[in-house]
Symmetry: C2
Subunit: 229 residues, 2 copies
């Protein structure tokens, strides 16, 4: 479903340029559960942003369900990001003066099929419920702990029932118990058909995936089946 061919991404900062991705070839099949690991600065978020259509590569091709993403119109890209892909950002990016419930409802307001308010509230509450936050729905982000904000970001990414979930460090701010509950929930959704790409720096979390890809300095240096727990 996702196919990257020789993807590069160079950032230019004034006179300096950073080679964040140096030639990525990657194929992800529908229904896979892939973990992406690698040291800080190795290019993981850059790769996720390109796959999530939030950024364009400097060179190379990205085929999503067989179509070249470079040919997509702005409208098509927006619809894709809203309906096909779910994104959990490393920095969450929640709307500040908005409650957890409203933050999670937001993606549903952009759907082309008109959902009733009753259905929107119901789905958002369910999403917050599965990440253990049913008692925090009225809190705004600055009234939430770091790990609670992170879980709101996960709920928001799942509420539109996407085909592909792109999660950048979804357990970085969570204790072991809460992390395991979350990854357990993701594994269940994967068995029900959700394709998952998850950046993580924790090996125990990565082992819940079926395949582990390791980046170093903008290149894939390892791509293997994980030792399933």
């Amino acid at each position: 479903v996702i196919e990257l061919k020789n993807i590069t991404r160079i950032y230019k900062t004034g006179s300096v340029s950073v080679d964040a991705l140096k030639g990525i070839d990657l194929t992800i099949q529908e229904g896979e559960f892939v973990a992406i690991m690698g040291s800080s600065g190795s290019g993981k978020s850059t790769l996720m942003n390109i796959i999530g259509c939030l950024d364009r590569p400097t060179s190379g091709n990205y085929f999503l369900n067989g179509e070249d993403v470079a040919t997509f119109t702005k409208d098509k890209l927006a619809r894709l990001r809203n309906q096909t892909l779910g994104f959990v950002f490393q920095a969450f990016h929640l709307l500040p003066r908005t409650t957890a419930l409203e933050n999670v409802e937001l993606p549903l307001l952009y759907r082309e099929e008109e959902l009733s308010w009753k259905e929107i509230h119901k789905r958002a509450r369910e999403a917050l419920d599965i990440v253990g936050l049913s008692d925090r729905v009225e809190h705004t982000p600055n009234e939430l702990s770091g790990g609670q904000k992170q879980r709101v970001a996960v709920a928001r990414a799942l509420v539109t029932r996407p085909d592909v979930l792109l999660a950048d460090e979804p357990t970085g701010n969570l204790d072991s118990r809460t992390s395991l509950d979350l990854i357990d929930m993701l594994q269940r959704l994967n068995r029900e058909g959700l394709t998952i790409l998850m950046v993580t720096h924790e090996p125990e979390i990565a082992n819940f995936a079926e395949r582990i890809i390791t980046l170093r300095d903008g290149l894939i240096i390892k791509d293997r089946q994980s030792v399933q727990m």
Copy 2:
């Protein structure tokens, strides 16, 4: 050096109130290296904010070097936060349009002793060097990876050579290798006299401390010597 007596903190959100800390008694001696663990929402950041004089308790007393913090003037609190305490926030809080170097220099500009620009640049560069970011000093936060932003936050907290470092999840966004380098560096600073309180959810990181305190629902439920690695 730090003494908390029956500290409580209640957040009031509209009609709902959250009992974030329910009676914390805690004594930290000079030179200790303490890890604080506990599930998401258990009160760790709230506790750190009170110890760091960024927030006031609802009731109870906080003695810093024998003096009751409730009696301090605004000026004294500001000076304390700038010179005695170093704080690494769970969400980093870097200035957005400012380079890594400038972000790290900032606390030095507020010092009462006038430092020369030469000395300020030198100290900021050293701080960024010990967290492995000497090649990213000119980048602004949106030109840095998640783990690089986290390390800038650590460098900024250390540049004033504080007596006490309060670090809220300092390795949450770092891969294992970079995390171990960082905690190794903190252990070295601790041996040189720095008192450290570090929130972490990773047991391997917590074991680098000498003492591990565990919070649950706003109370300390465990306080023991760690199994030193």
